[in-house]
Assembly symmetry: C2
Homo-oligomer: 407 residues x 2
């Protein structure tokens, strides 16, 4: 059986990247940019006052207090009309153009307006050049401000707006189809009869996928018969990513693996040395990346994060693909099951700046409720039998930490 690490590498190496598409700035969050973005302007576009105050010549205020004549008031968005010469100053607002001749802006708090604003008394010295952001000091016209491959976050949206990039290319995100299989599954609006359970995997997988892509469709639930599964998989093969859950184990009615092979998909692996999540299959047919995940809800959840998440990130051409792994202090002794690497649902919190982690209680990979107490996966390598309280362990973070994990 291949290791988790090998399986992730196989997934990443065999995932196709997607083409660019044109998008508007309002739709761009969470994509990676597919072209270098070039500024059409200098930033600042002019010598810009960084403060409300007075534009003046630094030499004039070497001995304070001293008084200067105020020749005009320059507000943001307006061009200055007067030149600053020795003995003169212009009142200036934050964001306004520094007038020619001035080399310094003193902040209004260090001045006193006198003679009804006709003159200003300077109360403090200020270094030459202070409070002026020079034209082009942040960005020069023609400069690349965002590189191909950069992820669009709110900061990047600000930059895109400032250079007037209303439409630009990003790498397309995949469309995702989800099929839950199993004769025992009923829709969520049905009260399960004897032997039945509701299709929770379809919904949780869709929610996981929707955290990174928009176009996610839960296809019909596929009963455990070969013909039905075939026809639904045919539909799923129109997607960039097809995720199945269930039907990949060793049962007589686990048709998914069989059906996929008959459809001549290329199977890269169908078992991983992983707990929970051993019967995980990765295959491809044409442009469709197929993940057949185990049907136990915790295993479905974990294998999405380990294998499907990095594949989608690669398709969208992000630089970072997998979820981050950090070191934390284990809070309790832990007896491992060995043989396979465990990715054990756990809860991580911050105590005095240090991360502490504890496995959540669970009854095994069918225990969906247990993972509502989890925010990470404790990684237990397959050769490890026991881990001790207070030792350092590796933890894969699943979502952004929130501040109540900060106590």
């Amino acid at each position: 059986m291949i290791s988790v690490k090998e399986a992730v590498e196989i997934v990443i190496n065999n995932t196709d990247v997607l083409d660019p598409q044109l998008i508007t700035i309002n739709e761009a969050m969470g994509f990676s940019i597919a072209e270098d973005i070039i500024s059409d302007i200098d930033m600042p576009p002019f010598n810009r006052s960084a403060m409300d105050g007075y534009a003046l010549i630094a030499e004039d205020i070497e001995n304070v207090p001293c008084d200067l004549e105020v020749v005009e008031t320059i507000s943001a968005g307006c061009a200055p009309e007067k030149l600053i010469r020795k003995g003169l100053a212009s009142k200036i607002m934050t964001g306004a153009i520094v007038p020619e001749g001035a080399d310094t802006v003193i902040m209004v708090e260090d001045t006193e307006s006198i003679d009804n604003g006709a003159r200003v008394r300077i109360l403090k010295q200020t270094k030459k050049g202070k409070n002026i952001a020079l034209k082009g000091e942040d960005v020069e016209s023609g400069q690349v401000v965002l590189k191909k491959g950069q992820e669009v976050r709110p900061q990047e949206i600000g930059v895109l707006a400032s250079v007037g990039a209303e439409r630009f290319k990003v790498f397309r995100s995949p469309n995702v189809g989800i099929i839950a299989t199993g004769d025992e599954l009923v829709e969520i609006n049905v009260k399960p009869g004897a032997g039945q359970i509701r299709n929770s995997n379809g919904y949780s997988l869709a929610a996981q996928a929707r955290q990174i892509v928009n176009d996610v469709e839960i296809l019909e639930v596929a009963a455990d018969n070969q013909e039905k599964i075939c026809s639904i998989i045919e539909l799923g093969l129109k997607k960039d990513v097809l995720i199945l859950s269930g039907g990949v184990s060793m049962g007589d009615y686990d048709f998914v693996g069989k059906v996929l092979k008959e459809m001549e998909v290329e199977v890269f692996f169908e078992k991983v040395s992983l707990r929970p999540g051993k019967p995980t299959l990765f295959a491809k047919k044409g442009r469709t990346h197929i993940f057949a995940l185990p049907g136990n809800p915790v295993a479905t959840f974990v294998t999405f994060e380990l294998f499907v998440y990095p594949a989608i990130r690669k398709m969208m051409r992000f630089a970072s693909l997998t979820k981050p792994v950090i070191t934390a202090v284990l809070e309790t002794d832990y007896i491992a099951k060995k043989k396979r690497t465990e990715y054990r649902p756990a809860y991580i919190k911050l105590c005095d700046g240090k991360f502490r982690v504890k496995p959540v209680n669970w009854h095994g990979s069918g225990d969906l409720l247990s993972i509502t107490n989890a925010n990470c996966l404790l990684i237990v390598p397959e050769e490890i039998q026991k881990m001790d309280a207070n030792q350092d362990v590796n933890v894969m973070l699943l979502s952004a930490l929130s501040a109540n994990e900060n106590i």
Copy 2:
């Protein structure tokens, strides 16, 4: 001037929580649940086989190898028809109902089918009770599975689906209006003329807000004249949250503070001992929470994260409100500016499981491009003059860490 900590407390203590609204499971991600969710079923709903294998009586296989008669095959979703007595076994699929009389399931890998499936040879012993998930062991019918106030993540979506919660109450998310002020601002599709810049703050603020709420509207850009600002603010006062940027400093044309006071809003603070972001105002009028943030793009960005983010989280009744603060090792010496607490854009990465942080290069709070290199804020308390390379520092994380910060 009040401290950042005091200001955040004032914001949180004066933020009104919002009422519940009914929502469907497909819309629920990112909300907090407004009612206890109760299971209408046991989980598992029956004694459930956790493996593909044979259901049998443990006593029968104390001496292996031994052969048992196979009385039926039970697939998932079907009710067993035969009782298991001494010497008998039923072939059983993962997720199927364990037949009466059986107390154990042995996995198929530890057996050999003989006599054309009429009998099975058991090759290994198995502990009594093994591979059976007992009815109700995870959840009992009538049990609360999700508590009021819990955040909906993919795990919770799975639980909601499994108990048939198609529609349920969550705490409403606020609608947010954004107004950028300044005579120098032009729309992003316009090439700025002399003294002008594009309205990037409106876009970056909207992107920040859209990370946590859906209903975000960029209202018109408000020129720096009192009447115009007044009429646009009137529009903004129909929102739960109104965010203004610019116009709150000490300039003659900084009308925002003046206008708000004339409108008889209740102002809680209008300056915070913070760099960047001193001229930050928090006020309320009726149900509208008003944040007038400074106009410098980096200051706008930082003050949203520090003050607006926790207010929105409180309105939505999340348990955790602020962004998490962790300890990291500083990579370089850092000379602080003192007087005000700095929240300095910085880049955090993981080296051998330890977090290391470095301030990003910047030219001050107008340098929008600098924060595209940042993923966190380095916190420099106001009494600190200098921090040394390799010392521990506090860092506020801004977004989920990604794996390339893991090198």
